[in-house]
Amino acid sequence: MFEKIWARHVVAEGPGGHVLLYIDRHLLHEGTTAAFGRLARSGRRVRRPDLSFATADHYLLTSPGSPTSDAETRGMVEALGRHTAEQRILYFGVGDERRGIVHVIGPEQGLTVPGITLVCGDSHTATHGAFGALAFGIGSSEVEHVLATQSLWQKKPATMRISVDGRLGPGVNAKDVILAIIARIGAGGGVRHAIEYAGSTIRAMSMDERMTVCNMSIEAGARAGMVAPDETTYAYLDGRPFAPSGVMWEKALAYWKRLPSDADAVFDREVTLRASDIAPTVTWGTSPQDALPITAAVPDPARESDAGRRASLERALRYMGLAPNVPLTSVKIDRVFIGSCTNSRLEDLRAAARIARGRRAVVPAWVVPGSGLVKRAAEREGLDRVFTEAGFEWREAGCSMCVGMNGETAKEGERVASTSNRNFEGRQGKGARTHLLSPAMAAAAAVTGALTDVRTL
């Protein structure tokens, strides 16, 4: 599948094995406005404003009510509004219900479809690969290049197929699957690879779940992660605002059905996992690869024979304030964050609400929907009331505490159970300690005040 999409988008062969790759969709957010400035200063224009889409998610506050922010942030968001208006780029801005996390709204609007190349100045762009698209994150220089030329010089990555087969046990979901995958191949395991997720477990997943899996490909080092399109994909897309319709839908569908990898496709690397081996999973350290079943204990550096790995383990435990060999379920939590481009879609909120219903949060717990439309859909189902009655805070859409750029961060030393994607040192605030887990597990931590095996509730 990767090869088919890649080959179909080569504009020209360049030196050193690089090709000029055409880009079908370019997503922008307020953190990428610097590229507009450089473009303007060099007297260049946006080549295809009709293939570019913008929203504001990274810097806006998500406090309930209207997203008010400091003057500097307002300036950034206004600059994006100005640039997009000047260049005639569609902008889902403040006050537009379609505004939200860029990786939530692309699929939601039907901008993401199978077989396309899609880029965004954000490393979690692989999310869109859930639709059988080649989607990857780029830097600011590359954003400027795409704005000016609608193309990118790229070197073809190697391919890796990760197959997960069998039925997931109760309380185990897509987040646990991707954390288990990262723990297995390592944070650098996918470097210079494009991953295809396959197998019956992935096939059985909804689009929301597949997006959770693809989203964290970069946490295994891979810029792109994808799932072949199937009936689940088509059913999700049918009727979305920007998805093709009528005759175009039929034409597109015929093409999409030819995308999946051929039976004899060869991958540079194959990895297989059994669904039955995956438990509800949680991270204990400062890399997403530091993930273990919730039934496990904090690792012991003394048992590590490699000196380098022992030193890095000791450093992680020191930062996390954890003692070796302590059961993970005894780790007390100070706050809970449910949201981010990994886990802020309707199904994520439903999973968290199922646990929150009729219980009471004993620590501050935020629920941040992925978009204005996710928020409205959740409210229509009454999920907001489930959360607020359980003492959770129901907030506006945005990236919020996942990246902390907007100032929504945890305090030094605070321990956060978070459905986001990174547990790096300082990610959720200077000195903040992050445990990554699924929405259901996060809700369980909120109502018990400790890391909890959701299966025991």
Binding site: L20, A148, S151, G188, V191, G221, R427
Partner: protein
């Protein structure tokens, strides 16, 4: 973009694997433009400085022999995580022009080449051996020559590295990549014509809100 041809300079070892771009420049500094005065302070800020803003003595770049470092020798997967190009800008602001290691985060690796920061891939054992030299002889220099694709370690031993011709050319000349791509304008336009015929569903009507 600044060109890179060759460099002989003090090198500092960074031993931790998986150093992420959040650590290289924390998110709260990303709202600052690249030309902000004092941008160098953001580089590894939270491991370099304590809460009072004083230098942490244990951080390698705060130690006298390594202060002048223009080269970092790293461990696996350096620059993983977020796509922030600011991680590269912070290196440049601190005067780092070359990073050497067994592997790099893919986005960081690409961003580096577009800003004149040379990322050199050497085998894990070689990278570890050079880091050991730098620990044993603090303040030792390395030489990096892009034309001949060679790193000369602190013992004077030469190690050849691979780099693709595209990145090499860009770094040697400091070329404007967008300007280069404009030379392909006709091919891009041809592609777009073909795309319109073969995948007409990709052309978007404008907002039907």
């Amino acid at each position: 973009m600044q060109a890179f041809r060759s460099l002989t300079a003090v090198a500092a070892p960074i031993d931790l694997p998986n150093v992420d771009t959040d650590r290289i420049i924390p998110a709260r500094f990303l709202r600052n433009a690249q030309d902000t005065p004092g941008y160098d302070r953001f580089f590894f800020h939270d491991v370099r400085f304590d809460a009072a803003g004083s230098e942490r003595a244990e951080f390698v770049l705060n130690q006298a022999p390594y202060r002048a470092a223009q080269i970092l020798v790293t461990a696996e997967n350096f620059g993983c995580g977020s796509s922030r190009e600011a991680a590269v800008w912070a290196h440049m602001a601190h005067g780092i022009r070359c990073v050497i290691g067994p592997s790099f985060g893919d986005i960081f690796f690409n961003n580096a080449a577009k800003n004149g920061l040379l990322a050199v891939v050497l085998p894990a054992a070689t990278s570890a051996a050079i880091r050991a030299q730098l620990h044993a002889r603090p303040g030792a220099s390395l030489s990096v020559d892009l034309e001949s694709q060679q790193v000369t370690d602190a013992d004077g031993r030469a190690h050849r590295f691979e780099i693709d011709g595209f990145k090499k050319q860009a770094l040697l000349t400091g070329q404007d990549e967008i300007g280069l791509t404009f030379g392909y304008e006709e091919l891009i336009a041809d592609f777009e014509r073909r795309q319109r015929e073969e995948m007409p569903w990709l052309a978007l009507g404008r907002p039907q809100s």
